[in-house]
């Protein structure tokens, strides 16, 4: 879009973007800087991003304070399982809702959409009793099952359904003429064409799982089982006050997968846009 604009206009663009970036980038840098400061220096009146003395040992302390590596792994494997499971379920269910006519499909869609409006705080109590009845307290199962089958899973299904609905039906008819079964059409035509939607669903699901706080708080009591958001709130001193330097060091470690997802997905999204630029 900016390709044909004059250099002056372009400089103005970059300048305003740079200014806009400050409120987004500064807290991030502040976190990185706080991670290598002492607790006292964080609260010193100088707002310098560079510490006077570098406290790299903060990072080591994070792992000594609680089983942080184990907690990190918990978060990671749960997010991967939830993402993979959600992609599997939402793509199949979304395709069925978009393309297969079956009795009650309209009603089912309506019920799913109304489930979207329900905040998880509303359902946490019945879910608590459900998980207790299933004997899943103090396990990771609630953290896997609730995002996959709860409102996050519904959102994923709905997104996939919308995307499948918008694919040209003639493509699938061509595939039928070529002899593919219903599942073959889904697998070889609809799914490869849905990479942008799969990427979007994958990213939001991963982030949702990664950031989940209420469910771990409610369902987990064993510190070995904690996931990162809960673990981060657990860096406190004897009086329950936050140890800011440890929290910042731990948080800078916790954002790494998110950055990786964004960088990886960015390429995928651009690629997918090029792909969907084809009009049949």
């Amino acid at each position: 879009m900016t390709r044909f604009q004059s250099p002056f206009v372009r400089i103005c663009w970059y300048l305003s973007l740079a200014i806009l970036a400050v409120p987004f980038v500064f807290p991030f840098l502040w976190m990185l800087s706080g991670a290598v400061k002492s607790q006292t220096e964080i609260f010193s009146p100088s707002l310098s991003l560079l510490p006077q003395t570098w406290h790299w040992e903060n990072y080591a302390e994070v792992f000594r304070y609680q089983p942080f590596a184990r907690q990190y792994f918990n978060s990671l494997y749960i997010a991967v399982v939830v993402t993979a499971g959600s992609l599997f379920i939402s793509s199949l269910a979304g395709y069925a809702l978009a393309r297969i006519r079956f009795a009650g499909s309209g009603l089912l869609l309506l019920m799913l959409i109304s489930a979207l409006m329900m905040p998880e705080e509303v359902t946490i109590i019945p879910n608590f009793f459900l998980m207790k009845w299933l004997g899943l307290m103090n396990t990771h199962m609630p953290l896997i099952l609730l995002p996959m089958f709860g409102s996050q899973g519904v959102m994923a299904t709905f997104l996939m359904r919308q995307y499948f609905t918008a694919l040209p039906p003639e493509l699938e008819e061509a595939a039928r003429m070529d002899g593919l079964s219903r599942f073959g059409i889904f697998w070889k035509v609809a799914l490869p064409l849905s990479r942008p939607a799969l990427a979007a669903v994958g990213i939001i699901t991963f982030l949702f799982s990664w950031n989940l706080f209420l469910e771990p708080l409610v369902f987990l009591s064993d510190i070995e089982l904690f996931t990162l958001p809960l673990a981060l709130s657990n860096f406190t001193d004897a009086y329950g006050l936050p140890l800011w330097h440890l929290q910042m060091a731990a948080t800078s470690l916790a954002v790494v997968p998110i950055l990786i997802v964004y960088i990886a997905a960015q390429r995928q999204i651009v690629e997918s846009f090029a792909l969907s630029g084809v009009k049949g």
Partner: protein, 345 residues
Amino acid sequence: MAELTLSGVCKTFGSLQVIRDVDLQIEDGEFVVFVGPSGCGKSTLLRCISGLVDITGGTLEIGGQRMNDVPAAKRGVAMVFQSYALYPHLRVRENMGFGLKVRKLSKPEIDRRVEEAARTLKLESLLDRFPRELSGGQRQRVAIGRAIVGNPEVFLFDEPLSNLDAELRVHMRAEIAALHKRLGNTMIYVTHDQIEAMTLADKIVVLRDGQVEQVGSPRDLYYRPANAFVAQFIGSPKMNLFEASGLPADILQTARPSAAAIRAGLRPEDMQVLGAGEGPVSGRVVNNEYTGAGSLLHLDLDGLGRCLALYNGGDSPEEGAEISVGFDTGRLYWFDAQEQNTEVA
């Protein structure tokens, strides 16, 4: 052998009857065009034949075998879609070989067939491109290539040229005609463009509201239209219709139409435009559309109303000019109260 027989074919969507009791015989190797106004059921009838849509009544036979319940891929037909429907995520080569791969042909056999089709359609240099890297005409050829590789008995085309610009349309029309000559397969072609229908068809099927109005060669339909609808649909600009009672008595006497005839039809190319007072009916020019080789005149005739006339030659009368017209009585068509042509049984 791939002759098609449709007997009493019906299709309803819910309570909406789209195809009504269609009987049709299509010979092996024939080029048949379904033509009709938008929404008359041409695509639906084609889809009934392809198997993408199940027919709700009657029988469909291809090559003498009942096909009502045979899945689309097993009917020996291939379809070219209006939007081309190329798989955007596959290269041209994979697009064309896709159906063969589904049918589990060997890799060398697929390659051989794809390359042969590519040679026929001059696509060799494009085989490793993606559809998005092709022009409209090239995509069209790939879509045809995808149909060819399966060696179908019958080709089905659903308005394959309507997304192309006018020049390319004429070019591809000629290519499709040449392809039919070379392959000799049965082809069924849907269009709403009567020029495409006239130029391509061995046999035209005119449809209206899901019913067959007339079946015949282009010449048949032009010279012997069964009714006023066909008469007006075939030929461009469309045929003028006049109330017979408005015509001068001596014309009626010379032409001697049957007693049932209440309306007369005359094609714009058969209207003789003369100077004021020279012909039996006088009138004036409302509009003059200059087309280079001639002009399309919009006339307002006394007692007969508005009509169109083609005028060949450069010295056409101006807008507002007083003129008169002559009628070649041999070129008049006569229609009764049911719009049927009184001279065609």
